[in-house]
């Protein structure tokens, strides 16, 4: 699980300390970008929205209550809200040109060809999941959040997250087919 910044850094950032605010930005901007990259499916938009997220975070930082929720969960909650807003505004999910080379794998295992999962293939496949499934897969496996934090971020119960995790993986498995074991 990625390292969190300390409460002291957050407190200093809340009081307007430039170095602490910069630390927060440097520490978390990749997390935010990664979520948006996979959630929206459009890298150029993801970068812009990352900036918007941090503008909103800095403006709202005094209202963050240390101890209420991990900072990363609070940050990704803001990120998710902006992602939803963006999807609604630009209909990103509707406009995605689905890759013609990414058919749904409905063939049996005897005919399926094992493939290596790339960022591009994963990104395209995630666009086919429901918004909640997409969120859970990104937060669990790409942001490496534990179930409890994903539940806090998405404002759902842990059992709901487990169910979404299973359904999301099943859907991805149907889309992507079997995976080549080049890991673990």
């Amino acid at each position: 699980m990625p390292e969190e910044v300390t409460a002291a850094v957050i407190k200093r950032a809340q009081s307007g300390d430039t170095a602490a605010l910069t630390d927060l930005y440097e520490h978390y901007k990749s997390d935010v970008y990664r979520y948006l990259y996979y959630r929206l499916g459009l890298p150029e938009i993801a970068e812009d929205i990352t900036t918007e997220v941090f503008i909103r975070v800095i403006e709202n930082l005094p209202r963050y209550q240390i101890g209420d929720a991990p900072f990363r969960a609070w940050l990704l909650q803001i990120t998710r809200n902006l992602a939803i807003d963006t999807v609604r505004k630009v209909n990103v999910r509707q406009e995605i040109e689905l890759d013609v080379n990414l058919p749904t794998h409905s063939a049996g295992p005897e005919t399926a060809v094992e493939q290596i999962l790339t960022t591009e293939r994963l990104q395209q496949a995630l666009q086919r999941l429901t918004a909640d499934q997409c969120d859970v897969v990104i937060l669990r496996f790409l942001a490496e959040m534990p179930i409890s934090q994903v539940a806090q971020t998405l404002n759902k119960s842990e059992s709901a997250i487990k169910a979404l995790q299973a359904r999301g993986l099943e859907a991805l498995q149907r889309i992507l087919g079997p995976q080549k074991a080049t890991y673990g």
């Binding site: 009081s15 307007g16 430039t18 605010l21 910069t22 930005y25 440097e26 990749s30 970008y33 990664r34 990259y37 970068e47 990352t50 900036t51 941090f54 503008i55 909103r56 800095i58 403006e59 709202n60 209550q65 939803i84 807003d85 609604r88 505004k89 630009v90 209909n91 509707q94 406009e95 995605i96 689905l98 295992p109 290596i116 999962l117 790339t118 960022t119 994963l122 918004a131 669990r140 496996f141 790409l142 490496e144 179930i147 059992s159 487990k162 169910a163 995790q165 299973a166 993986l169 099943e170 991805l172 498995q173 992507l176 079997p178 995976q179 080549k180 074991a181 080049t182 890991y183 673990g184």
Partner: protein
């Protein structure tokens, strides 16, 4: 299934703890190959290469510097609003208002005196905290910092008040006016004077959060009550209103009584009772809209829809959430009544008492003996409903209602509201899809359809701005792979403009095996438009009909196609505009008209399962939930459904007959007349003895939907039928202007 989800999670946790993939796989049941695949996939996702690092954005670094400067300023000065233009104007306000140093000194002396006698002479203070809950703190300047507030604490100009989570405070002015501060809110007192016993001069700044103001009518010309937000201000002379301000500065002003002048960006609009407006930085106030407030238990929290008691309320990214809410909380939600009867939340706060009640403003559309339709929402009227003597359709009213244990929604109080103040001419674009129905028959997995949208505004002032399109899928959505709209919106549509939109629908291969006559409906609608107070209601319904040839039967080679069978598949789809509904009066049905197709749970067209409004109506009328939702998915709003079942009970007519009349374009007044519920020159005979009961018996509720082969797909349009017994066409087009709660 939950058990399997847990097994999956345990295996994933092993992977996360560093256990080699093969070891994790070895611990799984060998026969569950899918679980093996899911774990392999999880490992693959975790092994996806990291994305390249992104560069820091100068805008963020600049904001960090600005934030540091702002903090430095605040630590050396008294707090002032953070938006620069307003700051410059407001800095001098207290000094201009107070005539001379003597008065300043006197104010200080009075303040010290008040502090010394805190709690004993509250009525003498201009503003006092009368009650509070949770964390309420007050500050005079940055040096002293925030101090806990307490009941009886007097407040003066220059002070700021803020509330923490799950907190609230009630304040009272010397003239009896009241102010309620909700959770996570902040308020600065810029000016607070009581010049004489009846002249209060109040100027407040609300940078964030929610406040409710009950201002007693001003009795002198000098009295004023002004609240600034980052994006505008609200000025009143005696009224009850609410202000909610978001972190980005956009704000909502909603008026319960009287009127409020809202100013923003050099423009102003007067908001009357029952209406609300929105202000955004650098923009004129939005046109007034009808306003609701609903208090009850938060039963469901979806991403975009929450359920409070029996009502679904849309939550948008602009909704101001004044606290962290969880299911089970008693909440109060304020917002806008959309034209299709949906409620869209402006702000949510924790309720201050345990009552369950809702109030909303809207135009009285239909009055039946027991049910009224107001802005698409049905409410029950009883002898106990308190209401003005003379009301008629078209009146702007406010309804306060509760929902009984039997699911009936009963109006307790109905008030007539003043019509909107038209002193400000606002744009009134009118966006219409024409034609409003298209049908394509084909045997393919990709369809491209083109619709057109016209702004039929009356004059050049009626331009539409920031038009955004959206769509919903009704039935057979499981076959849809992707839908795209080109374009998905327009920045402006001038009055008289007509534009086209291309809809690309890609279907899964399973569509080709779904069977001939399978229908997929896609409804195109306007998600938002900046220059219109309500949602545009025009819809374009596109119907895709699968017309692939069925597989040749092997067991009965001599079988011949049914006469109504569609022609074999053709490479190209054929598209036709459906004819407009022809008004036809159907007096009575010789046999029950077909009930709507039963909709399997979890796949209905409401997007929410089970829909609370569907559950409520099923309970009220004692019919299956699927029957109610079937009508809804057929294009009727919940308000219409409530009216139809209510009229069926009152008249003894079959509910299907009433829906058939509605489909054929009859108004509710005409329907009531036809049913003999209103006196009229030519009441249409209804024969209750041959008409099934209003609520279909179980056997009727399970009546199978009409088989597609019964419907001639390319026959002539329905002819005008004289008022004699007639069979309603099974699936005629929906009425041109459905009212209330229908799917967008």
């Amino acid at each position: 299934m939950a058990n399997r989800d847990d097994i999956l999670q345990k295996s994933i946790a092993l992977l996360e703890s560093g256990t080699p993939l093969q070891d994790v796989l070895d611990q799984l049941p060998p026969e569950d190959t899918q679980l093996h695949e899911l774990i392999r996939l999880t490992a693959a996702i975790r092994a996806v290469p990291a994305l390249p690092a992104i560069q820091g954005d100068e805008r963020v670094y600049n904001l960090i510097q600005a934030q540091a400067r702002r903090q430095a300023r605040n630590s050396s000065r008294r707090w002032r609003p953070s938006w620069p233009d307003f700051l410059r104007r407001k800095q001098t306000m207290p000094r201009l208002a107070i005539p001379g140093l003597a008065l300043v000194a006197l104010t200080i002396l009075v303040f010290i005196w008040f502090m010394a006698y805190d709690g004993q002479v509250q009525s003498a203070h201009a503003l006092t905290i009368t009650s509070l809950r949770g964390e309420i703190s007050v500050t005079t300047d940055a040096d002293t910092g925030w101090q806990p507030a307490h009941e009886g604490l007097p407040l003066t100009a220059g002070q700021r008040l803020r509330s923490g989570p799950a907190s609230m405070a009630s304040l009272q002015f010397a003239d009896g006016s009241r102010l309620h501060l909700a959770a996570n809110s902040e308020l600065a007192i810029v000016q607070l004077e009581q010049r004489q016993a009846e002249t209060m001069i109040v100027e407040l700044v609300q940078p964030v959060g929610q406040t409710r103001h009950q201002v007693n009518p001003a009795r002198t010309a000098a009295a004023s009550y002004l609240v600034h937000t980052p994006s505008g201000s609200a000025e009143v002379r005696g009224t009850t209103f609410t202000i909610a301000v978001a972190a980005d500065g956009h704000a909502y002003v909603a008026v319960d009584e009287g009127s409020v002048l809202v100013k923003s960006d050099s423009a102003a609009v007067t908001i009357g009772a029952g209406r609300a407006t929105q202000t955004q930085l650098g923009q004129a106030p939005a046109a007034p809209v009808h306003y609701f407030r609903s208090q009850g238990e938060l039963l469901r929290q979806g991403e975009e829809v929450w359920q409070v008691d029996d009502r679904l309320i849309d939550i948008t990214p602009k909704t101001i959430l004044n606290d962290a809410f969880v299911v089970g909380d008693l909440v109060q939600i304020s917002g806008q009544v959309l034209r299709d009867g949906r409620w869209q939340a402006y702000s949510v706060e924790l309720a201050t008492d345990s009552s369950h009640q809702a109030a909303f403003a809207g135009v009285l559309q239909v009055m039946t003996p027991r049910i009224w339709l107001v802005d698409g929402i049905s409410v029950g009227i009883t002898a106990a409903t308190e209401q003005p003597a003379y009301l008629s359709t078209g009146d702007l009213i406010r309804v306060v209602y509760t929902t009984g244990s039997d699911g009936r929604r009963l109006a307790q109080l109905i008030e007539l509201l003043e019509p909107a103040d038209e002193t400000t001419r606002l744009p009134r674009p009118s966006l219409i899809f024409k034609p409003d129905e298209l049908e394509v028959a084909g045997c393919q997995t990709s369809y491209r359809l083109t619709g057109s949208l016209t702004n039929r505004g009356d004059n050049p002032h009626d331009a539409a701005a920031d038009v955004e399109l959206g769509y919903t899928l009704v039935g057979s959505a499981q076959f849809v792979e992707a839908v795209s709209l080109d374009p998905a919106g327009w920045a402006t549509l001038a009055s008289g403009d007509t534009v086209t939109v291309t809809v690309q629908v890609d279907l899964l291969p399973a569509w080709l095996e779904a069977g001939p006559e399978t229908e997929l409906k896609l409804r195109l609608y306007i998600v938002s438009e900046a220059n219109h107070p309500y949602q545009h209601f025009s819809r374009l319904t596109m119907t895709l009909v699968q017309s692939c040839a069925p597989p040749t039967p092997t067991a009965a080679p001599t079988a011949t196609p049914l006469p109504t069978q569609r022609p074999p598949a053709t490479p190209a789809a054929t598209m036709t505009a459906r004819p407009s509904p022809v008004p036809t009066l159907v007096a009575t049905a010789t046999s029950p008209a077909p009930l709507p197709s039963p909709t399997p749970p979890g796949t209905d067209c409401t997007g929410v399962f089970p829909h609370p409004e569907g559950l409520r109506l099923a309970q009220v009328y004692g019919v299956p939930y699927a029957e109610i939702i079937g009508w809804f998915c057929d294009g009727f709003g919940f308000g219409d459904i409530d009216l139809a079942y209510g009229l069926a009970q009152d008249s003894g007519a079959a509910v299907a007959t009433i829906f058939a009349m509605r489909r054929q374009g009859l108004s509710w007044g005409e329907i009531m007349q036809a049913l003999g519920l209103l006196p009229g020159p030519t009441p249409t005979p209804v024969n209750p003895t041959t008409t099934p009961p209003a609520t279909a018996p179980p056997a009727a509720s399970s009546t199978p939907p009409p088989t597609p082969t019964e419907e001639p797909d390319d026959g002539p349009p329905p002819s005008i039928i004289p008022p004699v017994p007639s069979m309603t066409p099974p699936t005629p087009p929906p009425p041109p202007a459905p009212a209330g709660g229908g799917p967008p």
